[in-house]
């Protein structure tokens, strides 16, 4: 079944994008092509991992986000803050300060994402005991869930159908506020996200009708706001007393770091971070090459959420700070007292629905037709040079051949094929240039001394 209309958080600013190949070369699902001088993302192949955004040399890839003022549509404005937000600030900045700044920004309530991590991981341990088909794969990382849907559909049944703490916490805090007498329509829950994938997951949820989260705020935006406010405050030395939040256990503080889940599960558990590493491992897992593993924690970013594409601070320092913070909270209960009172409610509200395959590898739905197309691809590969230079606007020769068969490109897009065609007088130099301009944009090959690395790169005229 082919679904369409997937929402993606990653967008390309066509004014800033000058058409290079950086994003296209790092995309783990080969979802990017260059057309008319700018990068384009294939919506049905993109998993919102954000690797393209990291690789872009001119910040042309950005995350589409909710307007911050959207929070004021609600009377009760809840900020759901993950531990990695706190981990980005230098140690002298206290959690209490950070949360009080959140309130000053306009939130009426500030809650911690990992508040439900203890009860979720207990449910995961219990569920994993019952499962025969091992390893069980965590559903924590939304980019990984999408990756499995697209590239590894045969492993979908092994993905644990338990909400990650982010969603479980949203459900829990909403319920508590409703029980306090607040009208459901007045509650707006906003997640401060370190990644693009969670934005996409909220806008078009997987395995759920509707996300329990009402909006997503880019962590970079909040980071800058907090930094500015704290900075001005330190200068005037009028530190507000801040507020106290329920303490998190060390395990909850470290939950979103690499090993945060694997260290809590039973049996042989592995934690793998960075999406290309995950793909390499899942390839092996898919043909039963990996044996005897009980649980897999898979995260798309290096250093997990500390390395999220919207995390402003250095990922290693963020990890270090959270580990230090966790040590200070030794002895704090893994399941906070207030949650224990809601354990029955939580037990009934932590499942996620069926995860549908979104396999986009197939050349055609019909197998006979797919075979015909594959034959064409193989035939085209006889002519393409195998240099994988990407000058055709596709990441490699194989992708170009597949694009041609899908009627999305043509053989003459290859600059080496062009040379051969010119040699046999099948293509004029002028025509060849037109083809190149179609891919790389008009006047793309004209002299331009302001481009990155050129003579006048930094010499901006006033």
């Amino acid at each position: 079944m082919v679904e369409s209309g997937f929402y993606h958080a990653l967008k390309i600013d066509s004014d800033k994008c000058f058409g290079c190949t950086h994003c296209m070369n790092v995309c783990p699902t080969a979802a990017i092509r260059i057309r008319d001088g700018v990068a384009t993302i294939r919506p049905d192949w993109c998993v919102d991992c954000g690797e393209c955004m990291r690789a872009c040399p001119v910040d042309a890839i950005f995350v589409e986000q909710d307007d911050f003022d959207k929070i004021f549509q609600y009377k009760c404005r809840v900020a759901l803050v993950p531990a990695v937000l706190i981990g980005q600030f230098p140690e002298k900045v206290t959690e209490a300060e950070i949360f009080s700044v959140m309130r000053e920004l306009g939130f009426t309530h500030v809650f911690q994402t990992e508040h439900t991590a203890g009860i979720i991981s207990r449910a995961m341990v219990e569920t994993a005991r019952e499962v025969e088909d091992k390893p069980v794969i965590s559903s924590f990382c939304p980019a990984i869930v999408r990756l499995i849907q697209i590239k590894f559909p045969s492993l979908l049944d092994q993905v644990m159908r338990i909400k990650p703490p982010i969603d479980a916490s949203a459900v829990y805090f909403r319920k508590r506020l409703e029980d306090e007498g607040i009208h459901p329509d007045d509650i707006g829950i906003f997640y401060i996200t370190p990644c693009a994938a969670k934005i996409a997951a909220v806008k078009s949820p997987v395995g759920e009708e509707q996300s329990p989260i009402d909006g997503v705020i880019n962590m970079q935006f909040v980071y800058n706001k907090i930094y500015k406010l704290i900075k001005s405050r330190h200068e005037t030395s009028s530190i507000s007393p801040g507020e106290m939040l329920p303490l998190l256990s060390p395990g909850s503080i470290k939950y979103s770091l690499t090993g945060g889940e694997a260290s809590r599960m039973e049996g042989r558990c592995l934690a793998i971070d960075e999406i290309h590493n995950v793909i390499e491992f899942l390839e092996k897992l898919e043909h039963d090459e990996i044996e005897g593993v009980d649980f897999l924690e898979l995260r798309a970013c290096d250093q997990s959420c500390a390395g999220g594409v919207l995390v402003g601070g250095n990922r290693f320092l963020t990890t270090e700070r959270l580990n230090k913070r966790a040590r200070r909270f030794e002895g704090v209960s893994d399941i906070p007292g207030d949650i224990k009172a809601y354990s029955h409610f939580m037990a009934n509200n932590m499942d996620i629905g069926l995860l549908e395959p979104r396999s986009m590898m197939a050349l055609d739905e019909d197998m006979g037709e797919a075979m015909r197309k594959m034959q064409q691809v193989r035939h085209l590969m006889c002519f393409l040079p195998g240099i994988d230079c990407a000058a055709c606007g596709a990441p490699n020769c194989q992708s170009l051949a597949e694009d041609i068969v899908r009627r999305e490109s043509q053989l003459s897009a290859c600059v080496f094929i062009q040379r051969m065609m010119e040699k046999h007088s099948k293509l004029s130099g002028e025509h060849a240039l037109k083809i190149i301009e179609k891919i790389w944009g008009k006047n793309r090959l004209d002299k331009d001394c302001k481009k990155k690395g050129a003579e006048n790169e930094a010499n901006m005229e006033r």
Binding site: S154, E289, S359, M361, M367, M374
Partner: protein, 137 residues
Amino acid sequence: MKFKYEIEGGNFSKAGNASSAVKKILKQLNVPPATIKKLVVALYEGEVNVVAHAWNGCIYVDIDPDRIFVTIEDEGPGIPDIGQAMQEGYSTASQAVREMGFGAGMGLSNMKKNADLLNIKSEVGKGTTVEITTLLK
């Protein structure tokens, strides 16, 4: 549609490459994920068998819309008693191979479980041919 992959005996770091390549093709051909998984598990077992026991070998894959037919052919010691080799837990793998995590003696029986049809021919001192058929309809 036909494909051929060569297997190098004794090179465990490359064991699985042919299975991966076949898997990618089957995904592109829109073969159902459960069918791919079964075939690739059987194929991987076969590939590892060649790497572990034989001197060299070849995998031939023949795909049509009704069925996938895989032949794994090797030049190697052969199997003296196929019936015995089919039993779960029976293994002739050396200690060194077992230490690498291979050779638990589940290979042929696991292949049988994951193939719609399995046919083994072997000649001692010459080699073994394993045929796996996976029905698509």
